[in-house]
């Protein structure tokens, strides 16, 4: 078993699927000779050739639309949107088209395609290389939106996404590409696209989180246990749409105190859906207000370093929110 960071794990998952199934292919900007701006697809064009690892023109609607057309004609395309911030031009092809092929054709046509979307705040990313745009897609029936936060999960879920007969948006937090590492087995066990993951069990409060902030949440949870004996249950949805409601509710009911943390602008975020779900379905169990922590409603994130720091929830803010609930 080798230690892999998130980027390597995703790369490996992709390469393995391409070796196993020759209908699997990659398309996007700079994915070919350059191996992607983050190097996720490094070496793939050499191995699989210039069509199976295709450098497309700078046209996100084309990338997504062509992926649809490929998928209905026998291929399993994995499209890359270079930065989540540049997915809006592809919005129509994703939400109006890929998401609806199956339903609108009464099951005749489906779109087995995956769209990889590097997202999230990184130092120096500024207003257009920092955004967490997942909520745009989490109210469109027919789409699946996944956002694994650990390398082994990412590898396994990318495989599941590629094999899934539906369009799957695969969010990868850019900041975790090299920062987040773990042991990843050669043969990763399958991870289905409808199961949340409980990272730690606890009795005092539940925190649901994903992305880079999940890692901070886990650190803070450990710290609070050590320093104050607070036992936090931490749940990672892994799939953001449709949600694994049962797992989230189970954790919420168990602790009666519930916090959702993401780095997206808090209003209208996926956290709103999770909070609303818990507020309704775990009402009788709640001992404190269902709470959300995210970025304030300001474009994330200004280029100046202090700006990003002011916006993305850090350990201190997360600890405050957890303590507020624990002490409620």
């Amino acid at each position: 078993m080798a230690t892999k960071n998130l980027l390597e794990a995703i790369h490996d998952g992709l390469a393995e699927e391409m070796r196993a199934d020759e209908s699997v292919m990659v398309l996007g900007e700079d994915v070919g000779r350059a191996g992607g701006v983050f190097r996720v697809t490094e070496g793939l064009q050499e191995e699989f050739g210039p069509l199976r690892v295709l450098d497309t023109p700078l046209a996100e609607s084309l990338i997504s639309g062509a992926a649809i057309g490929l998928s209905v004609n026998g291929m399993r395309p994995v499209a890359e949107i270079q930065f989540a911030d540049f997915i809006p031009p592809a919005f129509d092809q994703i939400v109006s088209e890929a998401a609806r092929f199956y339903y609108r054709s009464n099951g005749a046509w489906s779109c087995p395609l995956t769209i990889r979307v590097p997202y999230g705040a990184v130092p120096g990313g500024a207003l257009y290389h920092s955004q967490s745009v997942e909520a745009y897609f989490c109210n469109t029936p027919g789409l699946k939106v996944v956002a694994p936060s650990f390398p082994a999960d990412a590898k396994a879920m990318l495989k599941s996404a590629i094999r899934d007969p539906n369009p799957v948006l695969f969010f990868e937090h850019k900041k975790s590409y090299r920062l987040v590492k773990e042991e990843v087995p050669e043969e990763v066990p399958e991870v289905p696209l409808d199961e949340a993951r409980v990272h730690r069990e606890g009795t005092d409060l539940t925190v649901v989180s994903y992305g880079m902030v999940l890692h901070t949440v886990l650190e803070v949870a450990e710290k609070l246990r050590e320093e104050q004996g607070i036992e936090t249950e931490v749940v990672e949805p892994r799939t953001l749409y449709p949600l694994d409601r049962a797992s989230i509710l189970e954790a919420a009911r168990k602790t009666g105190k519930f916090l959702v943390v993401s780095e997206a602008n808090v209003t209208g975020s996926v956290s709103a859906e999770i909070a609303a779900l818990v507020a309704r379905e775990a009402f009788e169990w709640l001992d404190a207000p269902v709470t959300r922590l995210g970025a304030p409603d300001v474009p994330v994130a200004g280029f100046a370093k202090p700006m990003m720091d002011a916006l993305v929830p850090d350990a201190a803010k997360i600890e405050d929110a957890m303590l507020e609930l624990a002490r409620y």
Binding site: S61, G69, L70, N73, S105, N166
Partner: protein
């Protein structure tokens, strides 16, 4: 004003008499199905009609080049003439019109005119204009990657060239010499917006900028369209790349049953184009070439009428989808 002649002759195109009769039959069927839909709409039996009238020659002429179920078609909402040519039936269209469970296009989920058939490789069409073009290039790329000689035909109205998707697809098809034929059925209007407010320059003229051929054809001349599409599909099959065909035609009806075209176009203009009716024009050609006479025509009309009536009857009686079906089928494999 006399009906214009048909410029190309079928002999030169390698078309048999039987081909010509088939083409004529598809055009006639498309027209009669369409007319019947308007009647049903006025009777309050059909909520919505969108027409192919005036564009049958462009549609049948182009689609007649496809190998149904092997090549792919990405049609638009007026392409009833295409889907009938590929093998859909009048019954299919009325099932769609009445939004019945058995509607092969969508099981009653989409408006009529939103064609789909897995067997015939007619890819599910939607309402947002222009989205089919990038999809068509992807499907063409799959053929190219596998070294197959499949061709993709995709079509739209002239306004479908105004959105970015058309351009992105043209560029991509040009870069990779993809086996795709872009057919623009320029019928002069986009709902109320006339061509001069929709299109700068020339649609056919744009292909050159992408490095592949663009041809303008008389869209009311079924053989002229057939010829252009034949060259384009053969070129695509040979791996030489895409072609853009602009078929100049006219929308003979209002945009849809929800529209009143008297608000924005003159009756005179419509009348001028009625004179150019592609069906009348093809009839004249067939008559001149001794392929159609009064008797044969009546016979065909009767057949078509019967087919249409039987289809309406069947479709009216067919059941709706149940509520459970409405609520399911969102995800494949579940």
């Amino acid at each position: 004003m006399a009906v214009e002649g048909t410029r190309t002759t079928h002999g030169d195109l390698g078309l048999e008499e039987s081909d010509l009769r088939s083409m004529y039959r598809y055009m006639l069927l498309a027209r009669r199905v369409d007319e019947r839909m308007w009647i049903l709409n006025r009777q309050g039996k059909a909520a919505f009609v969108i027409s192919c009238q005036g564009q049958e020659a462009a549609q049948v002429g182009a689609a007649y080049n496809l190998r149904a179920g092997y090549d792919y078609l990405y049609p638009y909402y007026r392409d009833s003439g295409m889907v009938l040519t590929l093998g859909q039936t009048a019954r299919d269209q009325f099932l769609s019109l009445f939004a019945k469970r058995e509607d092969p296009n969508s099981g009653g989920r989409q408006m009529p005119g939103h064609y789909s058939s897995r067997e015939l490789n007619i890819v599910t069409a939607s309402a947002p204009v222009g989205v089919q073009y990038p999809q068509a290039t992807g499907t063409a790329l799959a053929f190219k990657m596998r070294g197959e000689d499949g061709v993709v035909l995709t079509s739209g109205g002239e306004a479908s060239t105004s959105g970015g998707d058309w351009h992105e697809a043209m560029n991509f098809a040009g870069i990779h010499d993809l086996p795709v034929v872009f057919l623009v059925e320029n019928n002069v209007y986009a709902i109320s917006v006339p061509e001069n407010l929709q299109v700068a320059g020339s649609i056919a003229g744009r292909a050159a900028g992408y490095g592949f051929p663009g041809v303008e054809v008389d869209g009311n001349d079924v053989l002229a369209v057939y010829e252009a599409a034949k060259q384009a599909t053969e070129r695509a099959r040979r791996g030489e790349g895409p072609t853009l065909i602009e078929a100049r035609t006219y929308r003979m009806t209002a945009h849809s049953s929800d529209d009143n075209d008297r608000r924005y176009r003159e009756r005179d203009e419509v009348e001028v184009w009625r004179e150019k009716d592609p069906i009348v024009r093809f009839e004249q050609y067939l008559e001149e070439n001794g392929l159609l006479d009064g008797e044969r025509k009546e016979e065909l009309e009767a057949q078509v009428r019967e087919e249409v009536e039987a289809a309406v009857e069947y479709a009216e009686a067919a059941p709706y989808a149940g509520v459970e079906e409405t609520l399911s089928g969102v995800y494949a494999g579940e």
